[in-house]
């Protein structure tokens, strides 16, 4: 359940930004999670709600934007979509894939009041 640690990381980023803006309340938090990122979105929601309790972000809506996984297929010599680690290249069936994108875990922006 490393999502607790991730949620705490999110909360630190959100709290710092809210303090810089002298925000009374954070209403929404937008995060970007890559399809291949090492995180379970539902667990992250649960943990974020828990760690936000009693903070400026208590009750904030968590909006998750999922970005697609992208890999470089060595046999094809081209970029291909990769939904999950361990999947084969959709073009040639090879597993000679190097992940290029989809591992992101970022706080994109927050809505404050």
């Amino acid at each position: 359940m490393h999502e607790v640690a991730l949620a705490e990381g999110m909360m630190r980023i959100v709290a710092d930004a809210a303090a810089r803006c002298e925000a009374a309340r954070v209403s929404t938090v937008w995060v970007e999670l890559g399809a291949l990122a090492h995180v379970e979105p539902q667990a992250l929601r649960f943990c974020f709600d828990a760690v936000a309790r009693g903070t400026v972000a208590e009750g904030a809506a968590l909006e998750i934007l999922t970005t697609p996984g992208v890999a470089w297929c060595m046999p094809c010599g081209t970029q291909v979509a990769l939904a999950r680690l361990g999947d084969a290249c959709p073009e040639c069936g090879s597993h000679q894939l190097q992940v290029l994108a989809g591992e992101e875990m970022r706080v994109k922006e927050i809505g404050i009041a």
């Binding site: 090492h38 934007l65 922006e109």
Partner: protein, 312 residues
């Protein structure tokens, strides 16, 4: 995207290797507040009462118009990664090889460590960071070998993070040109996400666990730089195919190097020790200002390491 002001997500484009830049560049273009892109936390004001879609489809309610959107664009693991970078500098400046050893509980990590220390300790200073939720049992086992060890108890935590390792290093004070072995919390999931500042991540898989583990826990094997298959002395008694395990791991991480060992019988241990010694030579030689002296030291210890193993 907001048709009035042009703000919003959903514009993310992945353009090859640059995985994040396109998102940040496209995400927050805003006609009346272009500066929002320049500074962290800069205000992106929605003063005008235009109804509009937020980045992910939630409505920025024009009636309550007080909500302001603040661009953040920070990695959730950013703080951990910054501390990990500091740890990496710490190791590099001292010519220390740091290895992050990860596996499920019961794979034989500590036994592997003890045997590794016994094989190397006469020639290479070794220090160990032991991660467990509770108890100092593992650190006690390591200290019994004569090596320095610090136990990190994570309490309810399921993994080590870079900050824990930084604090452990302050206590451990490993010698210059030593090997620091970091035994992560036994867990095939969570530790994979956290960079500790190590040179290499080593995943240990024991034959009693099953050869399909790489497919079931791909994040760990994707993160690994080396796979060590342990307890091969038990192969006659279990349904475990080394070839299948390696093939499965390479479906997740093409070209992942793999070694087979038994930390109990010593089978295959020479290859593991030789691998560690090679990594250490690299670490020592990469030290700033490393001169002929340290190269000679490293080379001498490489020979010693091989001799130690062949005597088993």
């Amino acid at each position: 995207m907001c048709t009035t002001c042009g703000c919003g997500h959903g514009q993310t484009r992945i353009d090859g290797v640059a995985t994040r830049a396109p998102a940040s560049a496209a995400g927050f273009r805003h006609a009346d507040a272009a500066v929002a892109m320049l500074n962290l936390g800069a205000m992106h004001r929605h003063a005008a009462a235009h109804a509009h879609e937020s980045p992910l489809g939630a409505v920025h309610d024009p009636a309550t118009g007080a909500e302001r959107i603040v661009a953040i664009e920070q990695d959730i693991l950013g703080r951990n990664n910054a501390v990990a970078a500091r740890n990496r500098r710490y190791f590099a400046q001292r010519g220390i090889l740091a290895l992050n050893l990860m596996s499920s509980p019961g794979s034989g990590k500590t036994t592997l460590l003890v045997r590794t220390i016994d094989a190397l300790k006469a020639r290479v200073p070794i220090a160990v960071v032991e991660g467990d939720q509770q108890t100092s049992l593992d650190a006690d086992r390591i200290r019994a070998t004569g090596a320095k060890a610090v136990q990190v108890n994570t309490g309810k935590g399921c993994h080590l993070d870079a900050d824990m390792v930084e604090r452990a290093l302050a206590t451990l004070a490993p010698a210059e040109a030593s090997v620091v072995l970091i035994e992560n919390v036994g867990n095939l999931v969570c530790p994979a996400a956290f960079d500790l500042g190590e040179a290499q991540k080593v995943v240990i898989l024991s034959v009693t666990e099953g050869d399909d583990k790489p497919l079931k826990y791909p994040d760990m094997f994707h993160a690994a730089d080396l796979m060590v298959i342990n307890k091969v002395d038990l192969l006659p008694y279990v349904d475990f195919s080394v070839d299948a395990a390696v093939a499965n791991a390479r479906r997740i991480r093409p070209g992942l190097p793999a070694l087979t060992v038994s930390a109990r019988s010593g089978e295959g241990f020479a290859d593991w020790i030789a691998w560690v010694v090679r990594q250490r030579v690299d670490a020592v030689e990469a030290r700033p200002g490393a001169a002929d002296a340290s190269r000679a030291l490293a080379a001498g210890q490489a020979l010693d390491g091989a001799a130690a193993v062949s005597s088993r």
